[in-house]
């Protein structure tokens, strides 16, 4: 897999905090001029398009960033699982562990002016867009400091200043919405694209094909990212889709099948897709990925798949382990240093949780805010209108 390595002088302490990642604590120096060329785990498979090269250049800095960011995402989701079990998180909670490489690789290929929209498995997408751990945990626990001020919950994270438009709870609905974001980008003649993420379950939704048809008719810069984790809730892909080759399901729309457990393959594919979309309109990227957790917290994830399958993926294809091996193979950091990064991630997550717990619940008066952007001072009522009424701001 590792083909060439051109520098080994990589362990100087980082002097400035400039980083493309969301953390400013990298202990490792990286020489940006150092280039490492690696090959993706498996070749891309194209549909109506010539797939990009398997060979991709990276830097020690990027490898360390990938590792650090994915370790943090992984830790956040594990912590969310515990918080849920201790009843600090309510309702639905869908975890992303296993799928981190999709967010990480995608972010590495695009800018914050490119849009992302996804379904309800959105915590790590938010983090990837530059959202903070505090905003995430505070939202999960329904606190004021949450990214949606406690009103959205697990499924409704947003970061508009980084063009992240949610966080949507209705399976498939985000696909037309994402094509609408792309419509706005093209309308304004921007050079940006929209990544619309959906699962293999949503891949069978009718509205996806309606939106894709229009996106193709109008050459919208829309990239449909099918995160195929192989189960729509508990229904295996082959039980739900006559053709589970989701990258081919766009028919007249080109597609690419990508190893979604390999951050570099994802990065390469997203770069390719962005260029394609700006020139030619929509494209489908099928990310072959896997979720370690069940669909949601009520799903142990073990009735419709075997424990062997889960542990097999962990051993053979884990996205973090893949990067760890690359880092070690290139002597970019030691095993202990990587363990330290994971420990630091744990510490950061714990600190964010502690801080989130200090954030108060929203004031009762917040019940009536944000119903409208412009409420015209209309009177609105609570359950007992004689007891609770408010003037909408």
């Amino acid at each position: 897999m590792a083909l060439a390595r051109r520098s080994s002088n990589l362990l100087k302490p980082l002097s400035t905090a400039s980083s493309s990642s969301f953390l400013n604590r990298r202990p490792f120096s990286t020489d940006d001029s150092t280039t490492i060329t690696i090959e993706t785990s498996v070749p891309f498979t194209g549909h109506n398009c010539e797939p990009p090269s398997r060979s991709i250049d990276t830097t020690p800095k990027e490898l360390m960033t990938f590792f650090t960011d994915m370790a943090l995402m992984r830790r956040m989701e594990i912590a969310a699982d515990s918080l849920y079990k201790s009843k600090l998180i309510r309702g639905f909670c869908h975890l992303y562990d296993g799928q981190e490489a999709v967010s990480i690789g995608m972010e590495a290929a695009i800018t914050k002016k490119d849009c992302i929209i996804t379904a309800y498995r959105d915590h790590c997408i938010f983090l990837g867009r530059g959202g903070t751990l505090l905003e995430s945990f505070a939202e999960l626990m329904g606190r004021q400091a949450g990214c949606s001020r406690g009103k959205g919950g697990s499924m409704h994270f947003y970061k508009k200043d980084a063009c992240f438009f949610g966080g949507h709870g209705i399976v498939g609905a985000q696909v037309p919405l994402g094509c609408g974001l792309a419509f706005a980008q093209k309308y304004r003649k921007e050079d940006h694209v929209t990544f619309t993420m959906y699962g293999d379950g949503a891949a069978n939704q009718g509205q996806l094909f309606e939106a894709l048809n229009m996106a193709a008719l109008w050459d919208l810069p829309a990239i449909l990212v099918c995160e195929n984790n192989h189960y729509g809730m508990g229904t295996a892909e082959w039980r739900a889709a006559k053709s589970p080759a989701y990258y081919k399901r766009g028919d007249y729309v080109p597609g690419l099948k990508v190893d979604g457990m390999d951050a570099f393959a994802v990065k390469q594919a997203c770069k390719f897709a962005k260029e394609h979309a700006l020139k030619n309109g929509p494209i489908i990227l099928e990310m072959d990925t896997y979720r370690y957790h069940g669909h949601s917290m009520s799903d142990p994830g073990s009735t419709y798949r075997t424990r062997d399958e889960i542990s097999g993926v962990r051993q053979e294809r884990d996205p973090i382990e893949r990067i760890r091996k690359l880092i070690l193979a290139h002597d970019i950091a030691t095993e202990k240093e990587l363990k330290d990064i994971e420990k630091l991630a744990r510490k950061e997550v714990d600190e964010a949780i502690a801080k989130a717990k200090e954030s108060p619940m929203p004031d009762d008066s917040e019940l009536f805010t944000n119903v409208y952007r412009k409420g015209y001072g209309v009177e609105s009522f609570g359950a007992d209108r004689k007891e609770v009424r408010a003037t909408l701001p």
Binding site: S148, G152, Y158, C179, G180, V371, Y372, R373
Partner: protein
């Protein structure tokens, strides 16, 4: 005027050739004229909507129109006539017949700061897309803690036309009116159509704008003020179309014309009815309704939609809650019959409120017989 609407303007089975009967009933009544003493011009509702769209598109490049047949066909009901020539296909977007898809695309474009005006050929077809109107549009500002507002207008004809059967003849006022996060406007006259559509397009929140096919060809007097490009009506405010002291009649859309006609007939019997044109179903102008009922002590609600969980039911509840002690008679509700709309003319007539129904119920509310 008749020439225009007698054309086969419909598509997808939406022909509405039989207007004569309605036209007579809806010829602008004398009482409506009184509000426009300075009026020098008449305008159809169709032209009012068209000019409002045109002016708002001219004023703001973020405004665009999208829907089935809005461009080259010039609009299934000609509301978007001429806009394609003027603004081009980037801003007047013909879509395939896929409501869920193009409604979602519209909402997504609004997330990113555009101001889409989504036309449904009729609101019956909005059922294909109601998830995007409610879950994607109405709730986003709240769910995001105020980060993602959705400045979009969903517009098109709503309610019964003539002879188009059950699947094309339903009023969705009560449906959309039930949803916090939406604003629901129901124009009656040309003044309403212009002022409310311009307000809807300028509003930062999702607005459901329920027009009426039968009214499109009707002409109403319009003042110079109404014709001004800056003209705009306040959202959430009802209009007292006719002052009266004996009984309050609330109505919206086409039924305002029926209520005004009924009020004229009642006047001859010595009953002086106040007619409130709701203009907005959400927010509902409870103050204007209750103030009127406190003055007249009697209430008749009129709507084309179904009675159960209807707009009249909500108005009645509001009056019972806030003005119970002022009521001198039981509230009367005139509404669509509790059946899917029949095709044949005699049964269709029975399925929707007629002027004589309003007259009868109002007399009942005033304890007057026959």
């Amino acid at each position: 005027m008749l020439g225009i609407i007698k054309q086969k303007v419909g598509a997808r089975g939406l022909t509405a050739p039989v207007f004569g009967d309605y036209m007579q009933k809806l010829s602008p009544v004398a009482s409506a004229m009184r509000d426009f003493s300075s009026a020098t011009k008449k305008m159809t509702v169709r032209d009012a909507l068209n000019s409002a769209l045109d002016e708002e598109m001219a004023a703001d490049s973020n405004v665009f129109v999208m829907g089935e047949e809005v461009g080259e066909y010039q609009g299934a009901y000609k509301i978007t006539k001429g806009l394609l020539d003027k603004y081009g296909p980037d801003r007047v977007v013909d879509t395939p017949i896929t409501e869920a898809g193009f409604t979602g695309i519209g909402v997504g474009a609004a997330y990113h700061g555009l101001k889409p005006v989504i036309e449904f050929m009729t609101f019956n077809f909005s059922m294909q897309a109601i998830d995007h109107i409610i879950n994607s549009a109405a709730k986003s500002n709240y769910m995001s803690g105020g980060k993602i507002n959705v400045p979009i207008v969903f517009r098109g004809p709503n309610g019964a036309a003539a002879g188009v059967g059950a699947q094309h003849s339903q009023c969705y006022g009560a449906w959309y009116g039930a949803i916090p996060g939406l604003k629901v406007l129901v124009p009656y006259s040309s003044e309403d159509a212009r002022g409310l559509l311009k307000a809807a397009i300028r509003d930062p929140d999702p607005v459901v704008f329920l027009e009426n096919e039968i009214l499109y060809g009707d002409s109403f007097p319009v003042s110079q003020e109404v014709l001004d490009p800056n003209f705009c009506l306040p959202i959430g405010k009802a209009k007292i179309e006719r002052q009266g002291k004996d009984v309050t009649i609330t109505a919206y859309s086409k039924m305002v014309g029926f209520a005004l006609k009924a009020a004229e007939i009642l006047e001859k019997d010595g009953i002086n009815a106040e007619v409130i044109n709701l203009r907005s179903i959400r927010p509902l102008d409870r103050d204007t309704i209750n103030d009127s009922v406190r003055k007249t002590n009697r209430l008749v609600t009129v709507e084309e939609g179904f009675r159960q969980h209807g707009v009249g039911a909500e108005i009645c509840a509001s009056v019972v809650e806030d003005s119970f002690n002022y009521l001198d008679a039981p509230v009367e509700r005139i509404a669509g019959a509790d059946v899917p709309t029949p095709y044949t003319a005699n049964l269709e007539r029975l399925a929707f409120p007629q002027i004589e129904d309003i007259v009868r119920a109002t007399k009942r509310a005033c304890y007057r017989s026959g």
